[in-house]
């Protein structure tokens, strides 16, 4: 069977000319010269040349698109094992995601207002920049903000806490490489490493997504793309639902393409909407409808219950359903400590199961004693930030309103 011309990305007007002239398969075009074709179809020489190049798979400018290389599952596994994850600073959350936010995948965080979506977004755009000697990716982040909820001061808080955490590790370990890398890893540099886009409508968002590949070739260090939130512009003033589905799915495909080709992580946030059941009751479900649910590889639902934040892994190709608590502190996302003793037991157990993903766990005894801010009940629990609030004390009410008590 010869490949038909209609399976190529050829514009419809040209396609109808081709069909009229009797060209339907690749074979019909193989022996033709551009000049002959342009005469046959009465099109310009350039058009004819472009067409022939496309059909023969010799398009010079589209070489990058022609990467339909195959891998065996074994190659893929080895490839995956060498890939790193972006830690969230909540160990339980990391465990749930399989070590942190994975690269080459789209991860979607859904939640009602105030569930912590933006906090996780900011936390991850900071964490992606942790130097490699600390087990980080030493990358940069693209932050696409549609709601205007990104607060630079909040990002600075989280960046400061993260930098301080790393510098404590470096000092505690007295590791020269780490100490050296700390010189370049400051909260200012972290903020500079977040490329922030503000998109006021879906047109801007679409245009930004289309331009991203170009931006990413200029900034090869980018390892994380955050869109907070994907739903905002698509939830109002949209009459044509099939068009919406098309645009959204198109975006999802370009995101996953970027993620796989450039080895970066894509994180989207989504709002929740109410769906009325057949029996008259209702429940909350992620917005944008069912077809969008397929777009993300991993889906996490964030919610509040009993004055406690929870994250539930709802969809994942590699992990079972799981629910973990987390909290948002001044320093960012952290594990929950219900009470000092409880957490000691609980965290102690969970730490021992946790396979080391990074250097955070090493020598935390010293680091904890040195660092009042990260002082925790459990000496073996480095993620912990029980004392954070206390350290900053009063006068921070403005900030407190955004974080858990």
């Amino acid at each position: 069977m010869q490949r038909e011309l209609s399976s190529f990305p050829i514009q419809p007007s040209l396609m109808s000319k081709l069909t009229k002239a009797g060209f339907t398969t690749v074979e019909d075009l193989t022996d033709l010269k551009p000049l002959q074709l342009s005469q046959e179809l009465s099109i310009s020489n350039e058009e004819a040349l472009d067409l022939l190049n496309l059909v023969r798979g010799e398009h010079p400018s589209k070489l990058k698109l022609k990467q339909t290389t195959s891998f065996t599952a074994f190659d893929m596994l080895q490839n995956e094992e060498s890939q790193q994850c972006i830690v969230t600073f909540s160990e339980q959350l990391d465990n749930m995601l399989g070590g942190g936010l994975p690269v080459c995948k789209i991860t979607e965080f859904c939640g009602a207002p105030g569930a912590g979506k933006t906090q996780i977004s900011i936390q991850l755009s900071v964490d992606v920049q942790i130097p490699t000697c600390f087990g980080g990716l030493q990358g940069e982040a693209v932050y696409i903000d549609t709601e205007g909820s990104f607060v630079a001061a909040r990002a600075a808080d989280i960046a400061k806490a993260t930098v301080e955490h790393c510098s404590n590790i470096a000092q505690a370990e007295n590791n020269e490489e780490q100490l050296k890398s700390m010189e370049a890893f400051t909260w200012e540099s972290v903020l500079a490493g977040i490329h922030y886009y503000r998109c006021n409508d879906y047109l801007q968002l679409l245009a930004t997504v289309h331009l991203l590949p170009e931006f990413l070739t200029q900034h090869p260090k980018v390892k994380l793309i955050v869109v907070d939130s994907i739903a905002f512009h698509f939830r109002h003033d949209f009459d044509d639902f099939s068009l919406r589905t098309r645009i959204l799915n198109g975006m999802a495909q370009s995101f996953i393409k970027l993620a796989t080709q450039l080895n970066l992580a894509v994180m989207l946030t989504n709002q929740m909407t109410t769906r009325v059941n057949a029996d008259g009751g209702s429940h909350l479900t992620p917005a944008l409808g069912e077809s969008w649910g397929h777009a993300s590889t991993i889906r996490v639902i964030l919610y509040w219950r009993d004055r406690q934040r929870y994250a539930r892994l709802y969809k994942s190709p590699s992990k079972q359903d799981m629910t973990v608590p987390f909290q948002v502190t001044l320093g960012g996302i952290r594990d929950v400590k219900t009470s000092e003793d409880q957490s000691h037991n609980m965290q102690g157990a969970s730490t021992s199961q946790h396979k080391p993903q990074s250097n955070y766990e090493q020598n935390t005894n010293e680091h904890n004693t040195k660092n009042a801010q990260y002082q925790t009940a459990s000496s073996s629990e480095p993620y912990h930030t029980g004392g954070t609030e206390r350290a900053y004390g009063s006068g921070q009410d403005r900030k407190r309103s955004r974080i858990d008590s």
Partner: protein, 325 residues
Amino acid sequence: MPSLRPDACPGLTATVVERLKEANVSTVIEFLNRGLEELSKDCGLPYQELTAIRRVLLAQYSSFPMSGVDMYDEAVSASAILSTGSHGLDTLLDGGLYTGEITEMIGPPAAGKTQVCIATAVAVVMETDHNVVYIDTGGSLCPSRLHQVMQSHDITEEKYEEMCQRIQCFKIFDIFQLQECLQELHQKILNQSAPFHSNLKLIIVDSVAAVILPILGGAQTDSHGHMIHLSRILKSLATDCSTAVLITNNTTGANNDTGQVLPSLGRSWHHIPNTRIAISRMNESSSKSFSSESKSETRRVSLVKSCKQVIGGSTMIAIKDTGVT
């Protein structure tokens, strides 16, 4: 619609083609659709000559009749039934995935479609010596999960490596690449150049909706053609190359009045697959609230379309660490 070209068949010389063109006949279809008498008048060619050309063209483009017995024999000898690795699912599908057929699996997000795909791929390489092509359009194929499912079969590390080599993966993100890839596969299988392709029996596309939905909808008119074209390649892969094709698709209409779940991609796509199964989470009504703690690994799979089994049957499968049972 191939065009009339000189030397396409004896008698069709350059001058004849030229003459025909003057009479507004440039493609085979146009030639066959015209009355010969009228045509011979229009272009001044002898009637006998045109009849001869017509005869050759008809023979060249027609398909061949085949007796039912031959078809049956071929079906019995050439077709294989591939186990999905889950007994319940195999029973539902009358033994498993049939070569020469397209089996479609539909379900809402997180229903377990990818899990069944992975489990099936593993089952095929483990239990038979056939090879698998896995086309991933949504970035959802997770090699470590593949590894995990394989490990449950208790094999050595070298054996494992060999198994993995027999699953070939493509990461494809738009429909044109997908068509190109499938076309290449088609040719490679028919050429029988590489041992991998001559033993290829299962092609998985997870999911077709991911590549079709971005071009469907809005005011696009040609997108529908691409979709149908894709289905034709899939069909010919299944029948000509006698492979089993497993595709996944989204669902729509979960919130309409009837509560009936339909595959997405519209009505014309509904007719494409030979067999369709729907997979969904259990006790969805009680666990609909996302904040509920209930974990479930059980899924209900039901047969929606089939030409072999009674429609409406359903079975339970469990998605566990070790795979799908």
